[in-house]
Structures are given as C-alpha cells and as structure tokens.
Subunit: 350 residues, 2 copies
DNA sequence: CTGAAAGCGCTTACAG
DNA sequence: CTGAAAGCGCTTACAG
C-alpha cells in the first residue's frame, strides 16, 4: 500500500483549501472555473488518484454493486453477467462478482462478504435450494435486491422469463411437427423454474388431448451428462418418445451428443428442443431449436431495475417489479424432420 | 444507506472501549477470552456488520482484488475466472470483476476504476492490442499485477501456456495421422500468442520436411464464424489441405459446424484440432481433439502468484514469475480417421 | 490485559 | 465563491 497524494496535497499545491478541491473533483458549479482549472492542473501534476473508499465512508454511500451468480459454467448466465456488468459500469458503478456454483453455503458466505464491503445493491440469481426467507433477510439489511431468472416470492423485484408459456410454445411446436410421444428431460424436484417448465409441457400436452406417460418425464442432472442419460433412458422405452424437450441448452447439448455417438441424428431419430438460446446453440451439430428470452435484454432489465431503486428516494419508490419476458422459439434443424407430418415430406425428398 | 451499529455501539453495550472491540474482531490473543466473549455476544445482539471499507482506509490495506478479463464469451476464460475467484475467496479476498470485450479503451477505463477502488492487486488477461507499456504503468501505481494467458514482456509476473510447444505437438499428431497438407486457422497479425501458435505449427512442419503453402495460413476471426470461413476457404484450395489446426476451440467449433452443414464429418473429410479443451469440447459432434493446459490449474497458479506478492514484504519479494504450462493433446474423434495412414486402417474396416 | 488519542482520505453543512 | 471544522467507522502505536 504505497499511498499517493491526497486532496490535502492538491490543496497545498493549488493554494486553496481541501473543501475546494473536493468540490472541484465533484464538478460542483459552485467553484469558479478559473479556480477549478488550477486545482485540476495540480491534481494532474501530482498524479492524484481519487480514493473512492474514503469518499464512500464519509458520504455514507456506495458505488459498488454485488452480483451473485449460481452457475457460470452455463453460458447463459455468463451472457447475463456481461450485460449487467456493462450497464452498471456505464452508470458509474463497479461490479463485485461472486460465483456460488449452486451451493447455498457458499452463497451465504459471499452475501456476508458483500454486506461487509458495503454494496449499494445486489443482483442475484439464487442457488438451487435457497430458502425463500433469504430475500426478506437481505431486505432487512437495507440493501436493494433484484433477483434474476429464479423468483422467490412476489414481494421482491424479479426479472425472469415466462417459463410456463415458453414450454407450452415448445411443446406445441413439437406437436405441430406430428409428434405425440414427447419426453421431458429435466428434474422432477420442486424448484420454481423446474416446475414451471414441466408444467408448461404438461399443460400443452393436455390441451392437445395427448396423454403423458409418467416415465417420459426423465429426471436428470441439468448438464450435458444429464442429457446423455436422458437419451439412453428414452431409447429404452417402448413405445419410445419421438421428441424430447430439454430443461435447458446444456441438457440439449448432451442429448445431441449422445445421439451422435449412437450414429443417429437429432431431428431425424429424435426431435430435440432446448431452452436459453445460448450463443453455442447456433453452432451445434445439428443446430439446436431452442427458446430465446434474450440474455442481454434480461441483464439490461435487471440492472435498470436496480438502478431505479438506488436513484429513487425512500418515498418515491415504485411498486415491486415482477417482469417476466415472453420467450420466442428459434426453430433450427434439431426439431425438424422427425415427426410424422414432416416425415412424409422428407420421404418425398428421398 | 441505512447504517447499523458500529464498534462504538458494541463498546458501549459490552462496557469496554472501542479499541478492545476492534482487537476482539481481529481475534487478537491480547484480549482475555472472557472479555472477548462478552464483546462477541454484544455484537451478535446488536446485529453488527463489520465495515471493511473503513478498516481498509484506516489500516491502509485492501482486501479486494481486481480481475480484468478480455473475453467472457470464450468459456476458457470463464473457467479461469471461476478458479481465480474461488482461490481468492478462500484467502479472504473479494473479487472486483471487469470485462473488457477485447477493447483497449474499456480496459483503460476499468483499470482506472479499479485503482480508485483501491485494489490490493490485479489479475489481467489483457485485451488484444494492449501496449506493452501498460504493464509498467500499472507497476508505477504500486499495485502488483499478474498477467494470465497473454504475456507482455519478461519483467512482469505471467502465468500462461507454452503455445509454441503445444502447436508443435498438435501438428505432429496430425502428421502422424498421415497428413502432409495441414492448414492453420487463426490470425496472421502479430500478437504474441497468435505468433507462438503459428510458429509452433510452422516449426513442426519444417522439422518433418513438409512445405507450407502460404494460403494454408488462413486469416480469420477468432470465433465460430471465423472457423466457418476457414472451412470454406480450405475447400476452395487445390490440392486442399486434409487437416486444420485451429487457433482455439471457438474457431474449431465453427469448423465442425460448417463441415456438418456441408454434409461432411470432421475426422473423415478434414481432421480438426482445437486449443483450450473447453468443457464443451467433449460434447461437440464429433468430439474435438484439442490442446489442454488446464484452465483451473492456470487460474490457481495465477491467484497463488498474486497472493504470494501480497504476503511478501518489500525486501523478500521473489523474482519475477514466468510460468508457462506445458499443454497435453487430448485426442478425440475430430482428428482421427482422415489421414492416409489411418485411412488404410479404416478402409480395412469397410 | 485494556483504554485514550490520533488519524486514514474524504464530504458536507455552515459561516462569511 | 471559498474555508474551517466536524466526522464517516475503523486501527494502531502508546501508555498504564
């Protein structure tokens, strides 16, 4: 810790008081232009570096924002993080990052650390299994919180996706392709997002009068490995499903991969749909049909929601934000060509 | 900024001085166990939160570390970031993150911001085109700097990869598979890493007495799109190369994808090798042969190097660290089966 | 083993 | 338009 010149040093060099220097650094219009220039010149000459920590302590404010992310191995969350960091930086905030790797204890630890660091606000994508009470606890700290992707009750600002609608849309697409036996590769346990996605699938099936065999709901890890396991399970079923809806693109990548290993082609042997539209989904073999809600747009929304909270006074706070983006289906090769309807078309091409 | 109890409040509640409270919080052995317990109890009762910013200001130290990353859309750097963040957190440091998206101006801005935030040290993967002088400038700030992946001269701590050796290894592997016309998809411009990789390729070719046609060095974007462009360029050459060495896995993914679009299979139509061994390389179709130096291991090395600098006194500083991991080649399907040597094998199997 | 005092580098009323 | 003074929440010699 080599310490450089302080406003005191600048004040001495410029022949003014440190109050004046402070005001100049804040670009206060109260200081005469001439004086201000003299001060800026002295600061430059001395190689002055503003000490934001000291300013925050004295001013009882903070310009850092904590970003708590559950899974950076999923590129979707990386896209989200990048967008959020960009928007916050543009508004003069610095991002304190922490990765929880879906571990609730790690999450507790990093939240404590961020509180000690005196963050002005928090954006969090909570780890699976986070108790709902955590949102209340954070509120009790007096730190504004915006949740992304994973809701935790209706009284906390949340930016996410309408998963139920999205999975209805995806299921409907598969039905339109002529599929009637459609599997779901995700997990059966009760986290909100998983439930919504499963529910969207189930209700679209019901709406079209299609029965769902319980074994079609394949409980797997939400990773490529899980996708591979799902394919093996599906090919053991008789009659076997001709399409699979995946919890997310990570699972779908595993599905595409296992099909390839078996010498089969997604889209022909089994129609595959993912969710998230990660950048890589465009370059898988074959390219992946998937639900897109726009990671960048969600990141921008989440940051703006937080910035609005920070800039509003106690009295003028807007009501709780609950924003759920409506996803679109991006149709690519992985879901086209295997259903009975389209199969007749591809047979004609043979 | 709701502010909670301070050490002064705890002191009052526990009936001691704030010096004593401070010492207890630092777990100083100088305080009697009984007194310490009384203080801790009072802190708990009041819901005390340590203010690290105030402590850092007074103690003239800092417990945050800046992490400047050039490209988070490349999963390799994400793996690196995750490893670094984990190690730093374990040592009680907080990570301030910034993403430059390969933009030198953004990088300048975030470095200034981190300096104002009073980071104890910096870990940086510099943006392409960063002037070498930047390392000296950061040193002049008195902030220890560790570079990852991209060296900038020999007098700054650096943790990277022996790219020249790696690309020699990869080239040799392709030659052993019977290939003699091997292309290189990267960029021709003069950044250190690009030069090393190209050089490794060229020297292995030379060593085996194989001529390199200038057009085989395909200058493309270092993205999947670049990989796709490379494939199109290669298939226009006559006689065309039968193998391609890619700058990194991002490029290789594009190569695999374009081959698939053309109805061809990597490994048969064209042998493909990448670099980085990102997690996804295991699940591409076909799986990707690639160079692995271990993102996690590199991240751990980089963090430890920085931690060692922070913990050593001025006099006992170790000499500059220049660590270059020796990569291994992970052979998967994308590079096997297309060379003349192995082709005879596969013909026998037909 | 504990306390009184000084001070880290800033900001912010307040006074002139 | 500018300055003197108080203070943000801590730590650290120093004294006892």
């Amino acid at each position: 810790m080599k310490s450089g010149p302080t406003i005191q040093d600048i004040a001495a060099a410029a022949g003014v008081s440190k109050s004046t220097v402070s005001l100049v650094l804040q670009e206060s219009p109260r200081i005469k232009a001439e004086t201000a220039e003299k001060v800026r010149e002295a600061a430059r000459a001395l190689g002055y570096v503003y000490n934001r920590g000291a300013a925050n302590l004295r001013g009882r404010r903070s310009t850092t924002i904590g970003m708590v992310i559950n899974d950076l191995t999923n590129p979707f969350f990386v896209e989200l993080l990048v967008a959020i960091e960009r928007v916050l930086a543009q508004s003069g905030y610095t991002t304190l990052m922490a990765h929880t790797a879906e571990d609730v204890e790690t999450q507790t630890r990093v939240l404590r650390s961020m509180r000690e660091q005196n963050v002005a606000g928090l954006i969090m994508s909570p780890a699976l299994g986070t108790p709902d009470a955590l949102a209340d606890e954070i509120r009790s700290w007096g730190i504004p919180l915006v949740l992304v992707m994973r809701p935790m009750g209706v009284d906390v600002d949340t930016v996410g996706v309408d998963n139920t609608y999205g999975f209805e849309l995806a299921t409907q697409h598969l039905i339109e392709q002529g599929h009637t036996r459609i599997a779901f590769a995700g997990n059966r346990k009760g986290y909100t997002v998983a439930n919504q996605r499963r529910q969207g699938y189930l209700s679209a099936m019901a709406e079209h009068g299609l029965a769902v065999d319980d074994e079609w709901i394949v409980d797997v890890e939400l990773t490529p490995k899980g996708g591979r396991d799902a394919v093996r399970a599906i090919f053991d079923m008789k009659p076997r499903p001709t399409a699979v809806l995946c919890y997310n693109d990570q699972v779908a990548v595993g599905v595409l991969h296992e099909l390839d290993r078996m010498g089969k082609r997604a889209g022909k042997a089994l129609a595959v749909v993912g969710c998230d539209n990660v950048i890589a989904a465009e370059h898988t073999n074959p390219p992946l049909t998937t639900l897109s809600a726009g990671a960048d747009r969600l990141g921008v929304m989440a940051s703006r929601t937080l910035l609005a909270r920070l800039e509003a006074t106690e009295e003028q706070q807007a009501p709780v934000v609950q924003y759920f983006a409506v996803p679109e289906l991006v149709v690519r090769e992985s879901s086209v060509g295997a259903g009975s309807r389209s199969r007749s078309g591809s047979e004609a091409a043979l």
